[in-house]
């Protein structure tokens, strides 16, 4: 039973107030796109044992979609931020690096 802070209304949300929306920061590939791109967009997902970026909706609250950065094993939450972005905020990336040096997720993470 996670607790996530909604970045819109500021409420500290119990998981029962939220609906999960899967992986964040997907790039939509529409008509005209290559099969492999469309497949990646629609089906291929990260499944990390570690930091992860996901979409949540404050469904039983303000109704807004937001993103959360969370460790899938320890459940540590590194931060939540509005869904209207294509990049995780730098301060959240820094926070993950501090807790998990050497981490990576897609093209993000520590490059050493």
């Amino acid at each position: 039973m996670l607790i996530l802070d909604c970045p819109y209304c500021g409420a500290t949300c119990d998981e029962t107030e939220l609906t999960a929306g899967g992986e964040a920061h997907l790039t939509r590939h529409g008509p005209g796109s290559e099969d492999v791109d469309f497949e990646t967009y629609l089906f291929m997902r990260e499944n990390p044992k570690g930091p992860h970026f996901e979409r949540w909706r404050h469904a039983a609250g303000c109704g807004k979609w937001f993103h959360a950065a969370r460790h899938t094993v320890t459940m540590q939450v590194f931060g939540t931020y509005p869904a209207q972005t294509v990049e995780p905020p730098q301060e959240i990336l820094d926070r993950i690096s501090e807790a998990h040096p050497g981490w990576s997720w897609r093209s993000y993470g520590d490059r050493t």
Binding site: I3, D14, R57
Partner: protein
Amino acid sequence: MSHRLPTGGRRLTRSRRLNFTFDGKAREGVQGDTLASALMAGGQVLMGRSFKYHRPRGPVSAGHEEPNALVGIGQGSRFEPNQRATAAVLHEGMTAVSQNRFPTLENDIGAVNAKLSRFLPAGFYYKTFLWPASFWKSVYEPFIRQSAGLGRPPEGEDADRYEHFHFHCDVAVVGGGVAGIEAALNAAREGKRVLLMEQDRVWGGRTITDAGIDGIELGGQSPEAWVEDRIAELAAMENVTLRLNLQGSGVYDHGYLTAYEWVTDDRPGADAPRHRLWRIRTGLIVTATGAIERPLPFAGNDIPGVMLASAVRDYVCDYAVSPGKRVVVVTNNDDAYRTALALHGAGVEVPAVVDARPEVKGPLAARVRDAGIEILTASGIKALGGKKVSEVKVCDIDGDGTPTRTLRCAAVAMSGGWSPVPHLWSHCGGKLLWDEERAFFYPDPDRPPLGADGKGMVAAVGAAAGDLTLSESGVLGQVTLNEHAMRPVWIMPTGAGPELRSKMFLDYQNDVKVSDVQLAAREGFVSVEHAKRYTTLGMATDQGKLSNINGLAVLAGEVGSPIPQVGTTTFRPPYVPISMGAIAGEARGKIFQPLRRTPIHDWHEANGADWEPVGHWRRPYTYLKEGEDREAAVNREVKNARESLGLLDASTLGKIIVKGPDAGRFMDLLYTNMMSTLKVGRCRYGLMCSENGFLMDDGVVARLSDDTFLCHTTTGGADRIHAHMEEWLQTEWWDMKVYTSNVTEQWAQIAVVGPNARKTLEKLGGMDVSKEAMAFMDWADGQIAGIPARVFRISFSGELSFEVAVPANRGRELWEKLLSAGEEFGVTPYGTEGLHVLRAEKGFIMIGDESDGTVIPQDLNMQWAISKKKEDFIGKRGQERIHMTDPKRWTLVGLQTLDGGKLPDGAYAVAEGTNANGQRNTQGRVTSTYHSPTLGHGIAMGLVLNGPDRMGEVLEFPGTDGRVYKARIVDPVFYDKEGTKQDV
């Protein structure tokens, strides 16, 4: 024989006698007893039968970890099976029955299983019930069902009520022993909001008894006074909540803790919930859950009268009960010497303390020697007896079990050492360390489960942290409990042969023996998780609280790995079984889930509605008249709508407003059709697909103004589709200036259907609904019968039809006015089944019937609703994939049976040949099937391979009833193909 001692019994109020029954026989106990202590006081140690072999069993513990003494308590609708007699508080009039025996506890037929035990080894079920397949139905399943299950279910609806209790605090301390009390005090004195809970009826835990025997003080006070003063201090603090009879049950992510409260179990029928499920959010969970003693695996260690040494001590000190006149103590550690002292002090004879260790030093042993009790070192035992212990044979601990001595006794107090209770620590992934010297797992303080902030959210203290002697606590001051090192014993004696090992029980409830675990290991089940499932070790209702460590130690010995490498099985909540009632809480009966009612709901209810749940709504399936069955009612309703006038409460249909400068652009992306070209005042039927291309919803869209659309959705789809719109707006096209609003409940909507629909509205007056003023697929705002209304000329029945939307609070009024105005036309309200028949006669699809999440609009011949002009819409790219354009996709057709009957719903059309599983190949399936009262025969729709090209062909549909139904492929529009009826 077990008996009540003349003195002692800290928990008892001897003057208050309580009557109860066990297996129908009248018994007597006193206030303060548990069921187990009262039965033992009356000489009854036999309390149940084991699950597999039906071995006679008595209590082995004095608490919640009990695997053996499981009984049914209560009567009728207050009966509950599988309750632990050792934890059940005795009350006046309690009725308890033993389980898993027939006909009686004393004489049980199933006990023959014990004689067959060598034919019922580990994995028996997996090995035996394999072949032949035909034996499953007639032989294996009846046999398994007959012997499966533990206890019987209660009768009737649960008479009690239950509740959930939400609680927030900074620190929740689980366990009200000395360590828990200290932790609570420390946190409370810092000003934190603290909850301290204890599963027992009294505070103090083990320390009161054990420190009492040791004669030591806590902080200069007697243990009782120390506990009393600290609890009083806590009780006086505003920031502290104290609860007895409340057990920490489960730890979940981010400081979520559930706890289970026994409220009225000892006073059935009291005006209060029977159980409470506490749902706690806390910053820190402190587990002060103590430790549990381990049994010793010696032959005959399950005979009634063999108990944990600590339990014997508790029965003597707390309940003034001795399990027998002569009690042998067998141990591998110092703690059991306290039991010898307690028994001796209570006047019970202790023939000997049998100790596995070669030599025994230390103050406890010295006191036992001083009491004149013989200590037999480097020794083990086997116990003998039937329904109770009669004697033990002493042997060399490292020998093969050859007896060296016989000790007559009625009970055995055993101690195989102690294990901290790590359950709550481990539920969310807290890690454990192995203590080689003391042979137990304990929480690794460096690897706790983490909270949202990345810091530990659970902390273990006291015995639960491995500090069995409170050495890290401040309470003992300068006193150190000087205990001699224990000797781990996993098989007693260590050289025991197969005969003895097959009588050493590890898991009492599931009858798993040392020999079973060893067999599992030899057969390759060397992972602890596999061995557990293969042998069922630790899978009984006690979840292996007593058996797991012994079991995995035996496994480790057999596979030659160190114990920590074998590891533990996963700890899962709840800590002990909790009632289904507590899980449900208040959510039962009428408030099980919210019920959505249309503004006309009460009228339906009063007029014969045969309800059908649709999502959280209730919709009339049909309206039954006196003496009418469902089918006749549906036929009557359909015919009346076709011939004269029908009314449908369509208020549940989803209504979503899409508004803004970019509304048209957004609508074009949302629907497969072109919506931006829709003119104000007009309606258009539209389809919505998922990004995968699959059809997800349909409905009529009305353009209310340049920048405003009203989207009708299916009844079940309203919330989902609104969420779908918001998801795309917020997460993909957040640059669009569009708002959406779900106004479903703001409107009541009534479909006025049939040749007399217009006349009826004209009678009510208020706006022009003539063909000239309102063409098919027009809508207009106005008034009907003085009520502000929006009228849509749309039809889901093929008849002349108007859907009239009015503010929700005027819905019932309009409904009744339509009924009066329509009286001369024989107005007939129809339900969802009538709606379905009417649409099926017209070949209109229904989301959820013709679509199932794998169907694309092209499968339903709906290419006309898919814009070719648009560059993009949700699902367009998905529908371009190879599999979606495959000409072999099954396609919608009508199906008409040759004999005029009804096709079975969901039936498959078979094709030539068989598939790899030997099943008939298929070439289509039925998606909707009804009897058409209009046409007088069965009609159906289905998806069929190359369907539209095979008109007139006959397909075979085998039914589950053994019949083969034959149907011809026909056009899916069965009625009024030209659409003349609706266009008048």
